[in-house]
Amino acid sequence: MATIKISKEELKKHIKLDDSIIEKINMFGTPIESINDERIELEIMPNRPDLLSPQGFIRAFKAFMGKETGLKKYRVHSPEKDFKVKISDSVSEVRPYTACAIVKKLKLDDEKIRNLIELQEKLHTTVGRNRKKAAIGIYPLEKITLPISYEARKPGEIRFIPLEAEKEMTGSQILQQHPTGKEFAKLLENYSTFPIFVDAKGKVLSMPPIINSNEIGKVIETTKEVFIECSGSTLEVLKKILNIIVTTLAEMGGEIYAMDLEYEKNKITTPDLKPEKLTLSLDNTNKLLGLRLKEKDVEKLLPRMGYEYSKGKVLVPVWRTDILHEVDIIEDIAIAYGYENLVPEMPEVATTGEESKESKISSKLSELLVGLGLIETSSYHLIKADEAERAKLEENEKIELENSKTEYKMLRPNLLIPALRTFAENKDNEYPQRIFEIGTTFRKNKMNSAETGIKESEHLIIATSPSNFTDMKQILDYLTRMIDIKYELKEAKHEHLIEGRTGTILIYNKPIGYIGEVHPEFLREWNIKMPLSIIEISLDEIFNKFKA
């Protein structure tokens, strides 16, 4: 979750702050995380990376509050001499695109530099997908000799002093030794060449998306002019991110200059701050929101969200990455209208409520068991690796998860394992302990489930301690008598139960589970000290026998 902190003092320069305004911040879709005398911390939703800096937030919120509404326009100066980036085809394999710009006349201070770095980092982790999709570099222009090249070289042939290092390193050394290099190594390590930005004198600016050069890659308070590049896999996204950065810098007082990007196959100029045009239907708006807005209402509402509107056409700010469809604009109309002003309406839609058959039968079974004085448990669907081992699971019962962060690594194939865990964990509690549980179990089965290869089945386990076979059979008799199903028992062997005291339970000639006394050897292995008897059955067959 991304958050930003804004000093109240800064906010007060633009908007009068009182309790009602603070509530408006929540209603703008940026919920307040925390607030104190000096600053407000806001949560920024993933669809609004343009709000990840105080400048971006203030720009949007001011309009929302009715100040400087409408589409904010920024002048983009044409490229000056050599404002050029040559993109070599060699990058197409590893990191094919870049979008670049120059911003001049900056008056930076400590606070602004911090805002800029934080914006850059937050864009990296959100829309940049941890630099995979997009990485941003900002450099003091005075240290660069234009034009710039973007090319890929063999890692051993790349040499420069990276940030926070003292000596020159090769591309491979950076990935192996430099802390930042190691952190992001997986983004490059499978490629035979690494991308770099190089200036006209051959000085390396950076090796994206890993690290900048120590000499050229650092913006300080005296920096007046900067070169900005975004590199990554999707040009559309890079352009948007560049727009967010250059307009933020413009909000800080900078002037934006375009650059010519010379790809080998075509030439483009970035940044392009020409707003996108989308059509909006008033009818669709009212239908989706349940309002009766007129065109003149929309004309007032949309500018408060930073749009320009005229006769069904909407101009969308270039820093908005989230406007894919008319509905995205309609939501903004609703936000401008104020969610607090929407009148709840309970429609008369005649439908009948209906519990699923499975739920109904399960809850009837639990009622019966509760009536017998049993306590229902509710266990994790996952089991520990050592539990699977002790239970001697078959191959089709072992379903492992990828990369589980806890000791629970597999799906449960039965409810016996969780029940044994429960008894082991409760050995200091008062006996008798009589429990039951109804829940899903999992087995590999390609035949029954083509999409996942895993068959799920609802099971019921009944386990009481201390108890014997007779106790269990009484419960089974009672349960089947109450649901009016006849069962049969067949002598059986079960790995964990005592031979001669174990049976397979059948209904309509189909085996549905087992009943028996758990073997003391197995109990000791599970650290259980009292005699235990169990019934475990699959409910699938029982569900089938009931009419919906």
Binding site: V237, E340, E345, T452
Partner: protein
């Protein structure tokens, strides 16, 4: 006069008290002036019954019980034997008394002691200067008078069991000596119950109480009932042993309650798998394939199983289109959608996967329709007091060509009201598959703050067009169930929801809504 009145009042009180005495109490009253440990012997009752009777008497204000912890010195296994048969060193002395000088081997033989006992005896006697050892011989040093006296150790053994702090310094010294030897003495901390008579107690203690009160009602009593017979009065304030009953798990009680709300609102329950392909959990819900939630450190993917896309080819085509170039005027995410990523099998991260499956099966004539799901969802998360890898989720969807945002808020308000929250606040929010999206906050009176409880939205056309064929509005919302439960049961640690502590399951009060 006044005194007389008081006396007669006392008498009534005591008579009433006597009517209340249980047979057990009546049995021990004659011996209340004795120390507690003797009562059992004199009455022939077991110590648990005596203790119970004493507690009853205490409740009736006849006695006061005090628990005192004492350190008691007792005989050990060997101590019991030596007390009966004399200590080994005494045996050695007895032999030497017959014969003042003896070779070691012979003395040992005559004493019939074990190697170890004999060695210890020599050590003890040497320390006390009663013997000397020289040239493989033992010589007696002690006088006849000295020999006739009991040693400190022997005196101590005679006194046991005794409270440790009642021992004289010399006997304490002897105790230290004996403790060095195997199993002769044992020191135990015991709590001892002492009783003290109250003024009322003093009046009746030691008395034989004759009572012809009736105890439990029996079929005979009913049959032979005659007037004038009296029942013993019970002490109705006395505590009784706890009993436990069968019960549904407290989490499931809450879930059933949630289910009831959905049913009352006219929703049908959806059922379906917990294991699904990424297609249903993410792709059909317009979650881009590079979205962080689809990485293994957020979602539980299943190892070594091969997933498949659903059989409906048209649906797959539309979902692919929604992601790549967009459907119904949407611009899409602009990337190349990968079938294999959609095939990856996982445990559902939300019940919305079930909503997607349900929508894909819906026919035009089923509309309008309302569905709900309730059940476990999973995320790859470490476990601590506020996180877990499993959580309960419930959500409802309304598929209605005429549905709109006002309706959604209407449903939310009604839903929150049924959950017991009258104050609800709606705020904008974001989810990848809904637009508009919103959050419902309810007022927590105890903490005096708004708590996010409901997530809601209208499914995006990029979701509904592929699943339903056209962009019919689908309202969706669900409460964060675990959070609600934790508040209702006053549980601070989320792990308690899944711990199956039988004591807790027995004692947790029921879900009260």
């Amino acid at each position: 006069m006044k005194q007389d009145k008081q006396k007669s009042e006392n008498k009534i009180e005591i008579n009433e008290l006597i009517e209340k005495l249980s047979p057990l109490e009546i049995k021990i009253i004659p011996y209340l002036k004795e120390p507690v440990e003797k009562i059992a012997k004199k009455t022939g009752l077991d110590s648990v019954s005596v203790l119970r009777a004493l507690r009853f008497l205490e409740n009736k204000n006849i006695i006061k019980l005090k628990t005192i912890s004492k350190t008691i010195v007792e005989l050990g296994v060997n101590g019991v034997y030596y007390k009966k048969n004399s200590l080994p060193e005494r045996k050695v002395l007895a032999i030497l008394e017959q014969n003042n000088h003896l070779p070691l081997e012979e003395a040992k033989k005559l004493s019939k002691l074990s190697e170890n006992e004999f060695k210890v005896s020599l050590g003890v006697l040497k320390n006390k200067a009663l013997i000397t050892l020289f040239g493989g011989k033992i010589s007696l040093n002690a006088t006849r008078e000295e020999l006739s006296k009991k040693s400190l150790e022997e005196q101590l053994l005679d006194l046991l069991p005794i409270e440790k702090n009642k021992l004289s310094p010399e006997l304490n010294y002897a105790l230290d000596n004996l403790r060095k030897r195997k199993n002769i003495v044992e020191i135990k901390d015991k709590s001892i119950i002492e009783l003290e008579l109250t003024p009322t107690g003093r009046e009746i203690a030691g008395k034989e109480i004759k009572s012809d009160f009736l105890e439990e009602v029996t079929p005979e009593i009913i049959r032979d009932w005659t007037r004038g017979k009296k029942f013993r009065r019970y002490d109705i304030l006395a505590p009784v042993p706890q009993i436990n009953g069968g019960k549904k798990h407290f989490v499931n009680q809450a879930i059933n309650y949630g289910k009831k709300i959905w049913l009352e609102l006219g929703f049908k329950e959806m059922t379906g798998p917990k294991i699904v392909s990424s297609f249903w959990n993410f792709d059909a819900l317009f979650t881009a394939q590079d979205h962080p939630v689809r990485e293994i450190h957020d979602t539980f993917f299943i190892k070594d199983v091969e997933g498949n896309l659903p059989a409906n080819k048209e649906l797959i085509k539309r979902v692919k289109e929604a992601h790549e170039s967009g459907v119904g005027k949407s611009r899409g995410w602009h990337y190349s959608w990968n079938e294999n990523a959609a095939k990856k099998v996982l445990i559902r991260t939300h019940t919305t996967a079930l909503s997607a499956i349900t929508l894909s099966k819906l026919k035009k004539e089923d509309l309008p329709a309302k569905y709900f799901a309730i059940g476990k969802c999973f995320r790859n998360e470490t476990v601590d007091w506020k996180h877990g890898f499993e959580f309960n989720q419930t959500e409802g969807i309304v598929i209605d060509p005429n549905a709109n945002l006002m309706h959604l808020i209407g449903y939310l308000k009604e839903f929150a009201r049924k959950m017991g929250f009258d104050k609800i606040k709606i705020q904008p929010s974001y989810f990848p598959y809904t637009e508009p999206s919103l959050e419902g906050l309810v007022w927590n009176e105890e903490r005096k703050e708004w708590v996010e409880v409901l997530a809601a939205g209208i499914f995006r056309p990029e979701v509904t067009i592929p699943l339903l064929g056209t962009a019919i509005p689908v309202l969706a919302w669900g409460p964060g169930f675990d959070r609600l439960m934790m508040a209702a049961y006053q549980i601070a640690d989320m792990r308690e929801l899944y711990s199956n502590n039988i004591k807790k399951l027995r004692n947790e009060p029921i879900w009260k809504k």
